[in-house]
């Protein structure tokens, strides 16, 4: 089991007010799965993703990652896990402005401690998302779909086991969204675990399992039959 959550509770305390965002969540994800976490806004799906992705620590509960209990991990150890074993793709891309596509993709390598091959690894990651030609463009000179593909390349560059995608198509038109979903599907076929957060049913149906969360609790956890699954094709952008 790659990810194992037991009785995860997350409370936000603001003065005297305690907001219970996650209430006793149990969730296991195996290696190679493509899981979509669904739920309306405010349901706790993003908090759940942040907790699984080590961006936030749970208030209580046990989290085993790759068999290790992560409760006792120091901040630096968590940073190392985020760097080496996890890749993030965000709704708003979060690329560094005024920085080239290549430098953006190289950024995680900067924190990895590896001494060599920065550029060739970053180029390889960019080629795998079909952006081998645009490496010297500034991150603000490319389209939204391309930005998200750069973000995926950045998530891939350290060769992680899991990729977290938080509403990756939320800011994209349908064509670019389809391309991004196609890339995620391909990555899943290669054997990478994908955890996708979305509120869009059509996007969620790309996954082979849908976990629905409401008011901080998992209310449904089902496998998607092959007949229901949606597959996206890469749609070539017309060059301007």
């Amino acid at each position: 089991m790659l990810i194992e959550l037991k009785n995860i509770v997350k409370n936000y305390v603001n003065g005297d007010v305690v907001t219970r965002v996650l209430r006793d969540v149990d969730l296991s994800v195996d290696e190679g799965e493509f899981v979509a976490i669904m739920g309306p806004s405010g349901s706790g799906k993003s908090t759940l993703m942040h907790t699984i992705g080590f961006l936030d620590r749970p208030t209580s509960g046990t989290y085993l990652f790759d068999g290790e209990n992560t409760q006792s991990f120091t901040d630096d150890e968590l940073a190392r896990i985020r760097n080496k074993r996890i890749g993030f793709v965000f709704q708003s891309f979060n690329l560094l402005p005024r920085t080239s596509v290549l430098d953006n993709v190289m950024l995680p390598l900067l924190y990895s401690g590896d001494k060599s091959g920065y550029e060739s690894r970053a180029k390889k990651a960019l080629e795998s998302v079909g952006l081998g030609e645009r490496i010297h463009f500034m991150s603000n000179q490319i389209s939204g779909g391309q930005k998200q593909r750069v973000a995926i390349a950045r998530a891939l560059v350290c060769d992680p086991k899991v990729i977290f995608a938080d509403e990756p198509t939320g800011n994209l038109d349908s064509k670019s969204g389809a391309t991004v979903m196609h890339i995620l599907e391909e990555l899943n076929k290669e054997g990478r675990t994908i955890i996708l957060v979305t509120h869009d049913k059509q996007v969620a149906l790309h996954a082979n399992r849908i976990v629905t969360i409401r008011d901080g609790k998992i209310v449904e956890d089902r496998l998607v039959p092959n007949s229901e699954r949606v597959h996206s094709k890469e749609i070539k952008e017309e060059e301007e």
Binding site: G53, L55, D75, D76, A79, R80, R82, N83, K84, G87, F88, F90, N94, L96, P97, R98, T99, D103, L107, P108, L110, Y111, S112, G113, K115, R154, A155, C158
Partner: protein, 382 residues
């Protein structure tokens, strides 16, 4: 060096370059502040050393006597334009008495004024000093042509004149000064002249002073020397002495000599109560003390102003930095999400600060070097 550190510094420099305008403003604030402090402080000390240098050029074993009473460290009364007539030639003679002031090696009385010197078609407006032969020894005057006049010539009122270098070149562009006769003419509206004054006196040139340049902020080449009696009686029409300068054999004896001179003058003027002194005696140390006191205060004041501007600049920088940090919150979040540790983020901002400081230091080094230049050396540099 650690590869990550190099990368961090590279990144921070790239960052700074990406925000050229803001980085420039950030650096500008602190540079204006620091440069202000440095320039003002070095300007102050430069002015001070210039003043001191000019004064010590005159010699540190000079004592001056001026008429009128003055408080311990106040300016001479003559500064206020008041003519005080209490010093007489007899006082000079008394100071010259070896038995009374044993450390005095030369005593020169003089009066000053302005006049026009005419030689043929050429004429020069300049200032004259009427004195006697001792003046050469007191002021270390050197001649390039001819000689200075003697005490006898001075006190008998011989019709001779010694020209400053610039006056000589202006009046005699082709040379041949020595032996020529020039006329000294006093403007009729000269406030110091009285009725018995002759308007034009012919004088024979007997010497030309060596080129001296500027000492104590006066061009020493734009003046002439005439015998005491001619200046005092015939030109100014007065019977008193404007100032006496006394050269002391050794700087260590200056204090003794001042006491001796003061005693002699009190005897001469029959003064029994110190309160009634109608003269004062000073050495250069007093003058230096007075001047450094003034320039020190000026420096403190200017330094304070500069420090305030530095603080203002610092607040500006802090403001810009705070905006910078809050603007980059999401970037920091992203960097942490892709594996940056706290140390990485801290180093990133530290590296940015270091880059700024390095920029300031390298920019400031030439500024400092320029500010440190001795004004005299800088002026002579070609």
């Amino acid at each position: 060096m650690d590869n990550t550190l190099v990368k961090e510094i590279k990144t921070s420099i790239k960052d700074l370059l990406a925000r050229k305008g803001r980085s420039f403003l950030t650096i500008l604030g602190i540079i204006i502040g620091v440069a202000g402090v440095i320039i003002i402080i070095s300007l102050g000390s430069g002015a001070q050393s210039l003043v001191l240098g000019q004064i010590t050029k005159l010699g540190s074993n000079l004592v001056g006597v001026l008429p009128g009473k003055s408080s311990e460290n106040g300016p001479p009364t003559a500064v206020f334009g008041v003519q005080i007539k209490t010093l007489k030639l007899s006082d000079v003679e008394a100071i010259k008495n070896k038995g009374k002031v044993p450390n005095a090696t030369a005593v020169a009385a003089f009066v000053n004024g302005s006049a026009t010197i005419i030689a043929g078609k050429e004429s020069v407006d300049t200032s004259f000093t009427a004195t006697d032969g001792s003046y050469v020894r007191v002021q270390n005057i050197e001649m390039t042509k001819g000689t200075f006049f003697s005490d006898e010539e001075a006190n008998s009122g011989a019709n001779v004149i010694v020209l400053g270098y610039d006056v000589a070149t202006a009046l005699f562009p082709n040379g041949g000064e020595i032996g020529s006769v020039v006329k000294i003419k006093v403007p009729n509206n000269n406030p110091m002249s009285s009725n018995e004054v002759s308007n034009s006196i012919p004088l024979r040139v007997i010497g030309v002073q060596k080129k001296m340049g500027t000492v104590a902020f006066q061009n020493q080449d734009d003046q002439v020397f005439i015998p005491f009696l001619i200046g005092q009686r015939q030109i100014l029409g007065i019977d008193y002495v404007q100032a006496i300068r006394i050269k002391i054999d050794d700087p260590n004896n200056v204090k003794n000599a001042i006491a001796d001179i003061t005693r002699v003058l009190r005897e001469q003027h029959r003064i029994h109560n110190i309160e009634n002194d109608d003269f004062y005696v000073r050495d250069l140390a007093d003058a230096i003390k007075l001047l450094t006191g003034i320039t020190d205060n000026l420096r403190i004041f200017l330094g304070l102003m500069a420090a305030i501007s530095l603080v203002v600049g610092g607040i500006g920088i802090m403001n810009i930095m705070l905006v910078n940090v809050s603007e980059r919150t999401s970037e920091i979040g992203l960097r942490k999400a892709i594996g940056a540790t706290r140390k990485n983020i801290r180093n990133q901002f530290l590296a940015a600060t270091v880059s700024i400081v390095v920029g300031i230091v390298f920019g400031l080094y030439p500024a400092l070097k320029a500010a440190k230049l001795d004004p005299i050396v800088a002026l002579r540099y070609e």
